[in-house]
Each structure stands twice: as C-alpha cells, then as structure tokens.
Subunit: 364 residues, 2 copies
C-alpha cells in the first residue's frame, strides 16, 4: 500500500517551505472563539462524553437536513442524514454497503477517494466526455464525482450537464456518489442544484464541516434516502461505532448560536482575494502555466505548456522549498502529466509571490 504522495509532501514540508501543496483551510478563519463559547454549553452535558447513536445526533442531523431543504432546495428530513467521521469516511462506508466492484470517476479525481476505492480493491474506470459515460457505466456500478469546484480540476458542472448525468445514471440504474466538499464555499454566493436533485433514487450526497467550519473536528455527513441510510448504518457502526459525540454536540451548539452562512461568506471573500492574488502572480511570472480562475473552492489548477512532467518539477521545487502537487497523483492510473494543483488558502501574499517566482526560474 503506497502512501499518498500528498501526505509525503506534507511530511517533507517544514517551516521554511512555501507550500501550495495541502488542502488546508486558513487557520486564521477558524471560528475559534465561537466554538469555545459553544463548548461551554456542551461541557454542561455529561452525555457529550458518552457513546451515542451510530446515525448521529438528532438535532445536528436536523440542522443538516435544513441545509438541503433551504439551500439546495432539496426537501430533506433527519432520517435521510447519517453523520460520518469526516467526509472521507463516507467512501468506505458506502462501498462496503454495496456489491458493486466497478467505479467510474472523473479524471483527474480527488486523491482521497481514489485511495479509499483502491484499498477496497475496486476496479476504476474514467471517461473523457459525459457522452462517453453512458457507454462506460453499467447497472449497479457507481459514478463518483465532485460537482462543484472539483478537487483538483476546480471544474463545476453546468445545469445541463447535471441533468444529463442524472439521466444517464437513471437509464443505466447506476449509483451516484456526489461529493459536495466545496459546494458551499463559492465566491459568488450562488449555490447550484446538486446532481442528486435530478436523480434521488440511488444517490449519496456527501457534505462536510471541514471546509466551512473546521477540519480538525472530523465531522461530515451522507444524505441518501432512508433505505440506503438503513443499509449503511451497520457498516458505520462496525467502523467506529459512531462519530465523536462531543464534536457533534459542539457543532450543533455552534450552529445554534451562529449564522454559519455569514461565516462561510466571510471565508469565501477572503479566499477569493487570495485566489486572485495568486492568479495575478501566475499570469505575471509564470505565463506558461495555463489555468482558469476558479469560482470557488481552494485550488488553482492548470497545465504547464513548457514542461511535460510536473512530477519532476515538483521534486525540483521541493528541493528549493516550494511545494505544489503534480497532477499524476490525481489520475487513477497515475499517468504522467503536465498539470498541477496549487492551494491558495494557506499562504500569505508575500510568500505566494516568492514561491511563484522560484517556480518561474525552475521552468525557464
């Protein structure tokens, strides 16, 4: 079992490294004070330290269900929500509850999902165009995608594409795992309707507090119909019994006392500024790196026109204390690539400029 190259980079990073590699939210934006205040309420309840239900805390699931009803215009009840230990855990849980051995993924794709699929020894296929998807996917196979500000590509499906994908999955009677890690973290305040809005029968929609509140709490969720939730409940239980009671109650109290969407908007504004600054630096110093400014999420993704292998560049850059992620780790077959992913949420302006300039020198 190979450890993910991203983790290896992260391990190699020290305080002198200019890092565009991770996918870490900016710590200065964490609602530390508000969570501390919320914790006072939680520490008054003994059962915050006790075992709790595998499906998750009722009142937190109710609040998450309301996100769907109000924000995504997808009427949802708490029975259709299951709390996971971070969104990452959802892959293992869902796959163990199904018999499917075949998955279809986007290329490039989220590395954490690929690694969860590979550990369960699933067969992975990819596709080039949505038209192709129809030829590739079969009954009861699983389509996995990130529909907004995809990690790493930053791509967001249009409404037409969403409907088309939903039609294909329905026609083929396939499953959908729709990862919405970044859906709420958008720079224009416009929330797109998820694909599962158009195909609710066999779909799982994954959400997480990691990108909008704090990843260190490891709380995510799965939205699916009651029957599917029932099937994954035993798997969740066998995996870690339940997600931390304390952390669920902490988030529940936080949501009770604060307007999370105000908080998200503040973050999105901050991130947009950082993204634009990095994009400006790239256009100025790294003209051979071709990319589109993303409308949300945490990454800039593009390709180097003047080099063939971004992995080789990444290794050279790391020697010069600059880290980014070469795209071959995002392809399930790990093919060579001239593409690369840059995180913009976690590096100050000065360092960003310095890092991009170092890369400019290395690619000359």
């Amino acid at each position: 079992m190979k450890r993910s190259y991203i983790r290896e980079i992260l391990d190699a990073i020290n305080e002198n490294t200019i890092s565009f590699a991770g996918g870490l939210p900016n710590e200065d934006l964490f609602p530390l004070k508000q969570l501390k205040k919320a914790s006072k309420k939680v520490f008054k309840q003994k059962n915050s330290l006790q075992y709790s239900k595998s499906q998750g805390l009722d009142s937190l699931r109710e609040k998450i269900a309301n996100f769907y009803t109000n924000i995504y215009a997808l009427p949802t009840t708490k029975e259709e929500i299951l709390i996971t230990t971070g969104s990452q855990q959802a892959f293992d849980i869902i796959l163990k509850s199904l018999h499917a051995n075949n998955l279809v993924v986007e290329s490039p794709s989220y590395i954490g999902a690929l690694s969860a699929f590979k550990i369960l020894k699933k067969d992975i296929k990819d596709f080039k165009t949505i038209e192709q998807l129809e030829n590739i996917i079969n009954k009861d196979e699983i389509f996995y995608c990130v529909s907004d500000y995809q990690n790493p590509s930053t791509y967001t499906y249009t409404k037409k594409q969403r409907e088309k994908i939903a039609n294909i999955l329905e026609k083929k009677d396939a499953f959908l795992i729709e990862d919405a890690a970044y859906s709420l973290l958008n720079f224009q305040g416009k929330i797109k309707k998820p694909i599962c809005k158009f195909y609710s029968e066999k779909s799982y929609h994954l959400g997480t507090f990691s990108k909008i509140v704090a990843p260190g709490l490891r709380v995510g969720w799965i939205r699916a119909n009651k029957e599917l939730i029932g099937n994954i409940l035993a798997v969740k239980e066998s995996l870690d019994l339940h997600t931390s009671t304390f952390n669920q109650m902490l988030l529940d109290a936080y949501l009770e006392e604060n307007n999370i969407f105000k908080h998200i908007n503040k973050n999105a504004k901050n991130y947009k500024k950082r993204m634009n600054y990095m994009a400006d630096c790239m256009e100025k110093y790294l003209p051979n790196f071709q990319f589109k400014r993303p409308k949300g999420g945490m990454f800039i993704y593009g390709k180097f026109n003047n080099i063939e292998d971004s992995m080789a560049l990444a290794k050279k850059a790391l020697e010069q204390n600059v880290a980014f992620v070469p795209a071959e780790v995002f392809y399930f077959d790990e093919k060579k690539s001239n593409e690369a992913r840059f995180n913009f949420t976690n590096c100050d302006f000065e360092k960003t400029k310095e890092g991009i300039k170092i890369l400019a020198k290395l690619t000359k």
Copy 2:
C-alpha cells in the same frame, strides 16, 4: 448486512427501561470538569481545528508510549503508536493492511470485532482450548483476543496461558491482535503483562480512552512495531485522514494536568461496588444464573441453568422493560446459548435489584 442486536436493543430502550444491555461507562464518573479546564488550553491553539498527521499527535503518542513503558513494562516509543478513531477502527485498519483472510477468535467474542471482520468478508474460526489453537491457526493468519476481563466472558488469561499463546503464534508465524480495552480497568490494581510482551514481532496491541476517560471522544490507539505501523498508516489515512485533532489535543492536555491512574482507580472502586451489588442480587434472586465475579471490566457473564435459550428470555424481558444481552450474538456462528451478559456500570442499585427480580419471575 444485519445490524448488531445490541444496537437494536439500545434503540429499543427508553427512559423506563432497566438496562443491563449496553457497555456504557457511568456518566457520573466522566472527568467533565477536568476536560473543560483542559479545553481552555486547547482553544488557545488554532491548529486544534486544523487537519493533522495520520499517525496522530506526537505528544499524545508519547504519553501513550509511556503507559506501555511504565505500566506494562513494555519499552515503547511514539513511533510504535498510531492513534485510531476509537479502538473499534483498529480492526478495519489492521485487516486492510494484511492479506490474511482467516481469523481465529475466542468463543464468545467481542461483537464489534466480529462485525468488523464479517464486513470485510473474513473467514472466522474459533477454538475450545489453547491446545487446540495450535492445530487451527496457520502462518500469517490472525488470532484476535481480549486478554483481560474479556467482553463478554470476563475471562482473563493467566501468565502461563499468555506465554503458551505467544509460543504457538511464534511457532506458526501468525499475527496477534490483542485488545486491551479493559486491561487498565481492574478492581485489584494489578496490571498483567500483555501477550504481546512475549511475542512482539507480529502483534498489534489495542488500547482506548473510551473505558478510562470518555468514549464520546472516540480516541483509541494501536501499538505495533515501526514496520507494521508503517503498513497501516496509508490505510488509516484512506479511512478518515486522521483522528480528530481537537480531541487528541484535549486528551493530551487532560493527561498533562491530571493523574489518569488516580482517576482510573476511583472508577474501578466504584465499579467494583456496583459489580458486587449486582452479583449479590443475582445470587439471592436468580440462583439459577451461574457466574463468577469478575476482577475488572464492566460485565457479569454467566449461564442460566434453567433455560436453554437466553435470546427468547431477552425478548420477553424487553417487553417487561428489562434489557440484557443474550450470548448468541457473541458467537461468530450465532448458535443458540443459555449464556448472557449483564452490564453493571450504568444502573443504580435500586433499579438493579428491581430488574434482577423481574428476570427471576420470568425464569421461574
């Protein structure tokens, strides 16, 4: 995928139920104040809400390593510890990192382990005597056991038996998963040397804060040699990236400021009293239930001499608002049994007496 019967019972329990069913520590003993105090230190650090290393927090792993060096007389470094999201997660992580398809378990065995093994579609065998173990286990297969105050049987291996098991495993070149969930929770303050003390090469020793501090934080650990830890790291990462940073830092700060062994001793004293009270009630009102008083842990286990099927009794009892766990769920092949498990940590004296009396009536 069947949900565990214990969870089903727990779901059926309401405020009027006298429950001996769960395995819940007593909430009144949680160090709520101390954890609240510790949280003040944690909330001063932004990185408590950030992603962190898959292996776990260095300083917490160091403290856990010290448990082994000082309490178990097993010299251990932090490189030999990996933090898990509750001890339950360790089963999935370890099994995914090995090629073994066969497991040998005790009969009866911990239901959470059985369920984790079954979900991964492993073949399970059991054995009657330690001598038999030698004939049953093969190279690279896995032996799973709870060596102290086993759940459910409350059995504790003698030193001789531990050495014998270690010898067999070494001779057969098999793996050991030694679950120490209850090892520190003993009524006499005597800590036995674990089996892995006598067979360190291919062994995993599992520990947890659930029984000694608070289960709601979902923090456990695996102790193994560096090579084995290296192999499971990628699996842990693919499963939930890492265990909650906040909860790890909270426990680390708690351990910094408090003597955990004083806390454990206080709990053990309280539990011993509860165990003896329940045992007294059983001897008085339920003379056909045959058991030995355990020297640690959270359960009384025994068999009804006057009935054949404890599952049927459990169902009748639940109708009368009394819950306990019939033993067939603890056998991997779910065979009928007249044995039963009673939890004594979580029910007050009056209700305990009342519940035992109701069972007495039902078995007459």
